[in-house]
Symmetry: C2
């Protein structure tokens, strides 16, 4: 049933894994599965996400290094959004015949560079032929057993709403030939996420757009979120690229792919959050409040009525 | 960059996850990642493998239930080959537009039925559009920290070589319109694998064919394996379908996809292995010996020289 590979599967795996250096697991890759220790007093966090050619990227706009970087980045963003620290990851590849070995190694290099920054490495994976280049990552993280993971359902009336980093730059990059780097090489909040444990009441990463993602958080928490447009940290690229103020605001609210964290925290946490921001050199901006009710509001109006898409 | 889904992604996820019942994780699916406990005194085992349409299956020969079953089965086989017990799993789906919701639910039903048998459930996943139906599973298992995982490199001269179940039935099914069920719905050795801890010295699951898989085990262990052709447990389907003795033997040696376990164990373990086989009602057959040297031998001749493919 499985047609013979155009090339030697084992040589391919060897080339792909080399940029990652020594495997973290004493028993993998190379055996049937990897064996790992979850550090004592910790729970395991696990997530999976795929990057598919011509759905999430095209070869015209992404370098192969970008594909490797982004496939891992979007998974590390999900791990961070739970308040977990990255532990290791697996990579399942689907390869069309027209991807050359050197291009595959470029995917690995982009992935390995981000993995090194996050202090983790590849512990397993799989390679198969397929009609399009597709990279499916499963990321593992750890979270202290004593901590409450950062879920979507913990926001309470009286909390403040925050977002890290800047919004809209990824979307602004999409609308222009350059710069696209925020969209191709997002920087997941691997250090901020764990720092929010015990402070944030709810958290989500901004992948589909602030409006949609905060909409999920509001629904899960059964609260309303009131945002203030002028407080949204619109990115410099979005500001520079926008032909109008509403366009920049639209990118910030609905553009998505910024891979920053949106979260809620009680007012009394404000000073500790400011200290964390200073310590990690990450911007954390208060953008609104949690109130009783339902849905997402912008400057006092339901977001739907403002004309912004809110899927 | 991500085109709008033809259908509601959240309704799709809801329909897919329903056959699995209540999520095993208190925090997933539905949040950014699942949070799990690895039971005290255990290490984590993790593996990933994909089933891709027109590479590993076609819609003409597989029911959608079969796709779900097999995608999980091949991963549970890898977990079992390490001596680990299944813990939970994640599922990343790539969906072409012509897969209907009911067909997707059929994939989930086939997967959920096997998951229930194995005592596990789905804890996370992802869905994306893609050119072909593709199911990438990441399976998690647990293994006592005190046990040595069953790796490929532990075979020692003097050990016996064993295989569980029967060989060649999956390949025989491929050569015929019917029966194909051994090839579409393999039964991973989820109970036998963990039972071999402390007894087997090396272990691998038979996915690519006995000759190739035992070749990996021999190479990793730096030993030679001497097999006896008449001792190979050729399956009843293979025997019935073969037009000659050599054809049945060829299926048994090179057909692959039987998803049984091939392993080595010291002679003194023979009685305990027989007791395990009786207890689990699984056949375990001694098929040869480990000797010093290199490579795989059949009836005293190097396997390569016998005309059997040995990739």
């Amino acid at each position: 049933m499985v047609p013979p590979h155009r090339r030697d599967e084992f040589a391919l795996i060897d080339a792909f894994t080399r940029p990652f250096g020594v495997p973290a697991s004493p028993f993998g890759p190379g055996d049937d599965a990897a064996v790992l220790d979850v550090p004592k007093g910790h729970r395991l966090v696990v997530t999976t996400d795929a990057l598919v050619e011509d759905v999430h990227f095209t070869r015209a706009t992404f370098r192969f290094e970008d594909v490797g970087h982004k496939a891992l980045a979007v998974n590390l963003s999900d791990v961070a959004a739970m308040g977990a620290s990255p532990l290791s990851f697996l990579c399942a590849l689907s390869l069309p015949d027209d991807v050359e070995d050197a291009q595959l190694v470029a995917v690995a290099r982009g992935m390995a560079a981000l993995a090194r920054k996050a202090g983790i490495t590849l512990v397993g994976g799989n390679v198969t032929r397929g009609p399009k280049l597709s990279v499916t990552i499963t990321a593992l993280g750890k979270i202290p057993s004593s901590a409450r993971p950062l879920c979507r359902d913990g926001a309470r009336p009286g909390d403040d709403v925050y977002v890290s980093g800047a919004l809209g730059d990824a979307a602004a990059g999409l609308a222009q030939p350059r710069p696209r780097d925020r969209q191709r090489r997002p920087a997941p909040e691997v250090r901020l996420g764990p720092a929010l444990l015990g402070l944030a009441t709810a958290c989500i990463d901004v992948s589909d757009g602030l409006a949609q993602d905060l909409g999920h958080l509001a629904a899960a928490s059964r609260v309303a979120l009131e945002l203030t447009a002028k407080d949204l940290p619109i990115g410099t690229h979005a500001k520079a690229a926008a032909t109008s103020g509403p366009q920049a605001l639209n990118w910030a609210l609905t553009g998505g792919e910024d891979y920053v964290l949106a979260f809620t925290a009680p007012r009394r946490s404000a000073r500790r959050l400011a200290a964390i921001a200073a310590n990690l050199r990450r911007r954390i901006t208060r953008i609104g409040s949690v109130v009783s009710g339902r849905g997402l509001w912008l400057d006092g109006r339901p977001l739907e009525s403002t004309g912004f898409r809110h899927r």
